[in-house]
């Protein structure tokens, strides 16, 4: 016998102090112990007063809430020990409202515990399984309906219906088509191109090579970004084209992704992590390591931006740079590979 059998007959019934299903010993209910409020009218009245006091205080708190809401200007900032600086209106209204609600709850529970009967009652469970004859009756009803509909015999109706039902949700999926454009080459391209100036991220100032300090890091974007963001009204290009510029002693550069992609030890790399797209921002000058704050992928910028630690699988794409006739940094070309996180078609 592999399966455990359900005891037949009454599925639950206890017998001889033992529960038939589980075999546990059943003990009688313990005698009820009266509470103070059950025997002492004074205690009962005290409990009654306590509950009423809580409900009354709750009402007062609502009045306090309204007064605080109206009287305290929303601009008043106060400093409270432990909490720090906080909006006074927020604190006062929140306190009053919270206390008003809480007191209703505590009052109701206190009422139930002290004054309402605390004698446990027993209720029988009903069976959650139908009787065999009931199940039989359902099966018969179903069989009758099935026969009357002819769903079993009329194969051509059945098959064509199943086909129609299978196709009916298709428009619901097709209708989602214009949610967005097809990927196309969007994930492969940035607005970087030959001769585009590197400008500072926040202020859009061109960067003179001689102004980049040794060991320093500058967040930069392409010069044409501001215009494109304005036209498109999106941050999409910024999410791909953001770069960081670092300068190190040329002797410290172990390798680069291309010959002479630096300019006198100034290197430009994508800022967008190749793992899940966070902007990498923590640069350790001594080791030339760039750390992504999201999942701690670490890239060695002195060694082609290779991954030295963390979940990122690909090195940080490098942007080939040089200077224009006035000594400002410009791109030699766009990125030679997609920037940012992986995608299926990336290859």
């Amino acid at each position: 016998m592999n399966e455990l059998e359900h005891p037949t007959g009454d599925p639950y019934g206890a017998k001889d102090g033992k529960d038939l299903v589980s075999g546990i010993t059943v003990f009688p209910m313990e005698p009820h112990v009266l509470r103070k409020a059950d025997i002492d009218p004074k205690a009962a009245r005290r409990a009654e007063r306590q509950v009423a006091a809580m409900f009354t205080t709750s009402s007062l708190m609502i009045i306090l809430f309204i007064v605080a809401f109206v009287v305290i200007p929303n601009t008043t900032i106060i400093t409270v020990p432990v909490i720090g600086t906080v909006n006074a209106n927020h604190l006062a209204t929140g306190f009053a409202f919270g206390m008003a609600i809480l007191l209703i709850g505590i009052g109701a529970i206190h009422w139930a515990k002290k004054l309402m009967p605390d004698v446990e009652v027993t209720q029988e469970r009903h069976s959650l399984t139908s009787r065999d004859d009931e199940r039989q009756a359902v099966a018969e009803s179903f069989a009758r309906g099935k026969a009357e509909s002819g769903f079993g015999e009329r194969k051509i109706i059945r098959r064509s219906l199943l086909g129609a039902l299978a196709l009916f949700p298709v428009p619901l999926i097709v209708l989602l088509r214009d949610l967005g454009p097809l990927p196309g080459t969007r994930l492969r391209e940035t607005i970087w191109d030959k001769g585009i100036h590197l400008v500072t991220d926040a202020t859009y100032r061109k960067i003179k090579a001689s102004d980049v300090p040794l060991g320093g890091l500058i967040n930069a974007v392409p010069e044409n970004l501001l215009e494109i963001e304005h036209d498109e009204g999106t941050l999409n290009q910024r999410g791909k084209a953001s770069i960081i510029i670092v300068r190190m002693d040329p002797a410290e550069i172990v390798s680069q992704q291309g010959e002479t992609w630096d300019y006198q030890g100034i290197l430009a790399f994508s800022k967008i992590c190749t793992h899940l797209g966070c902007p990498t921002s923590l640069y350790q000058q001594r080791t030339h390591h760039l750390l992504c704050p999201c999942h701690q992928s670490t890239f060695d910028l002195s060694d082609s931006g290779n991954v030295v630690f963390g979940p990122a699988a690909r090195r940080m794409p490098q942007l080939a740079i040089t200077v224009d006739s006035e000594g400002y940094l410009v791109a030699q070309s766009g990125f030679d590979q997609p920037v940012g996180p992986s995608f299926w078609e990336r290859g």
Binding site: N2, E3, L4, H6, P11, A14, S22, G23, I24, T25, V26, F27, M29, E30, V86, H90, T93, G94, F97, G98, M99, A100, L102, G105, A108, I109, A112, M116, E120, V121, T122, Q123, E124, G180, P183, L187, G233, T234, N236, R238, G239, S242, K271, L276, C278, P279, S281, L282, P293, C294, Q296, F309, P311, A313, S342, F343, W344, E345, R346, G347
Partner: protein, 560 residues
């Protein structure tokens, strides 16, 4: 009663039903609801503190619906860029989305707006926390067993939906922190083989971040998922009502009854009151403890990030999994499979939630136990299940802690590299150890229970016998404790099937059956049987005799 009297409510009937009889009669005349209402009012629920965990989840959900509705009155899910000109001075003149600027307006210009936002955010954190702890209670007490498997699956779905609901809401302010979370989510979607790039493009209306995602997340957050949650919660509660609540073993409690208090008036007051307690505490915490100060993070831009970026607590384990995964990526025939992303972010959670949802069937299959259970297991009495649960919890906790590895590294000045390697190792080493230790503890507790049954509890009163021997007096435990200890269901491991039947024919299914029988034995192995009636009697006689002998010629030397 005549037919006329049945169909027409007489004034006498109304009076008999009391002051509210008018409404009751009105409803009953249309729904014949008297029987149902009586059963509802008289319905008995068992009392235990751990049964209130699910209530906290339910009440948090109501608080979320309420506070969320208010927030929709001011929030604007638009990504159109505006220049901020509200009352928060440090951000004046900064370019930001309308979503972010309207969230700032709620926080600084709408009176009570900050309170509503904080209530909403705190309630969301409590909602997921309460669901999680409720889940643990249901798991460790075996409340998911037949006939409650369907409700367990609904509960699992509710947890998944709550996580999605939480994440989508967390993203709506469009601040720097939540935007970074959204960027990561987009990267994960984009990494799905075959369809990922398309799904990401459609969801975001193009590249990240685009201008559509806030509006889409908004309809997901305030309509789609809350609707599903509301529907499933309703079914969840109806099932609890219909199947009646489980109860812990104790005096008078059997598999066939429910011992507790009636809905009306006790639970109306207690559970109703508890709703106000949960609500009140949430409001007080919202008033006193700042959560998600988006004004400090600033508006989202894809080229900035804050160090030590942390998601809300319930996403931490996923972030931890993503952090711990080694950097594997395969390029195959011009396509990229990012194992470093799809394994921790999709495969591992997929396996975890599937195993969670199917656990009732896994256990029933392994043990062969197809009985109905209405009496709960004390966790110690199901050592294998408790061990498995703690094992899974340990796995989860390591992922959760790993999700904050940068914060821990900074706080304790540790190397993030060696910490990551330590967590990778612990993720596989600790759970089995946790299993073994938990099981040992459970069995130890069972032995202690048996000891208590046989020898009573230690009173702390020590006797010295004339021979110089010391003896501590034990007193028998009360009926309530006895009932609790003895309320341990019999376990019946599956029989080992014969490889050959009575006629000498080989049983083709023997191998599978043997495996199942072994599994069942493993599941129930080391279960310590409760003492038999004879043992109890003998022990009681022995104790009485010993005590009598001791008391007749010794003096008590210590009485603590």
């Amino acid at each position: 009663m005549s037919t006329t009297q049945d169909s027409v409510a007489t004034p006498a009937n109304t009076n008999a039903a009391g002051k509210n009889g008018g409404v009751a009669t009105f409803i009953d005349d249309r729904l014949a609801s008297a029987n149902f209402t009586k059963r509802l009012l008289d319905k008995v629920f068992p009392d235990h503190w751990s049964f209130m965990l699910g209530e906290i989840a339910l009440y948090s959900f109501i608080i979320l619906l309420l506070s969320g509705t208010y927030l929709t009155l001011w929030y604007n899910p638009s990504m159109t860029e505006v220049v901020y000109n509200g009352s928060y001075v440090p951000l004046k003149g900064v370019k930001m989305s309308e979503a972010f600027s309207s969230t700032l307006a709620i926080s600084f210009d709408v009176r009570g707006g900050l309170l509503l936002r904080q209530i909403h955010h705190w309630a969301a954190l409590f909602f997921v926390a309460a669901i999680s702890v409720h889940l643990l209670r249901v798991f460790f007490t075996g409340a998911f067993r037949k006939p409650r498997e369907i409700n367990w699956v609904i509960g699992t779905l509710l947890l998944v939906l709550a996580l999605l609901e939480g994440f989508s809401g967390y993203s709506l302010p469009d601040d720097l922190l939540s935007g970074t979370g959204l960027r990561i989510a987009q990267g994960i979607i984009q990494a799905i083989p075959l369809v990922g790039t398309y799904v990401a493009m459609f969801l975001f209306g193009g590249e990240f971040p685009g201008t559509d995602i806030m509006g889409r997340l908004y309809s997901i957050h305030i309509l789609l998922i809350p609707g599903l949650l509301l529907g499933l919660i309703t079914v969840h509660l109806i099932m609890v009502f219909y199947q009646k609540h489980t109860q812990f073993p104790g005096p008078g409690r059997t598999e066939s009854n429910v011992v507790g208090f009636r809905l009306f008036p006790i639970y109306m007051a207690k559970a109703g009151g508890f709703f106000f307690v949960v609500f009140g505490i949430t409001v007080l915490i919202a008033a006193f403890v700042t959560i998600n100060p988006i004004w400090l993070y600033g508006p989202y831009t894809p080229s900035q990030v804050t160090a030590g970026s942390q998601p809300d607590w319930y996403i931490g384990w996923l972030d931890g999994a993503v952090r711990l995964m080694p950097n594997l990526e395969t390029s195959l025939l011009g396509y990229t499979i990012s194992w470093n992303i799809i394994v921790p972010a999709l495969v591992v959670p997929g396996i975890m939630f599937t195993a969670l949802g199917l656990y009732p069937w896994i256990e029933a299959w392994a043990t062969g136990d197809k009985r109905e259970h209405h009496l709960l297991d004390r966790p110690r009495n199901a050592p294998t299940r408790t061990g498995l649960g703690v094992m899974a919890l340990t796995f989860y906790m390591i992922l959760q802690i790993a999700g904050g590895n940068d914060v821990i590294a900074a706080a304790f000045n540790l190397s993030i590299n060696s910490m990551t390697w330590t967590f990778r190792f612990l993720l596989f080493a600790l759970p089995p150890i946790a299993f073994v230790i938990t099981k040992r503890i459970c069995l130890g507790l069972q032995r202690r229970d048996n000891d208590k049954l046989l020898h009573g509890y230690e009173t702390g009163r020590v006797l010295r016998l004339p021979s110089g021997e010391f003896l501590e007096i034990h007193e028998p435990i009360g009926d309530a404790e006895k009932a609790m200890i003895l309320g341990k269901a019999d376990v019946i491991p599956l029989e080992l099937p014969a490889a050959v039947d009575a006629n000498g024919v080989r049983n083709p299914k023997a191998a599978k059956s043997i495996m199942r029988a072994k599994l069942s034995r493993w599941y129930y192995s080391d279960v310590i049987p409760t003492p038999t009636d004879e043992e109890m009697l003998e022990s009681a006689n022995h104790a009485e005799h010993e005590l009598h002998a001791a008391q007749s010629n010794t003096k008590e030397i210590a009485n603590h």
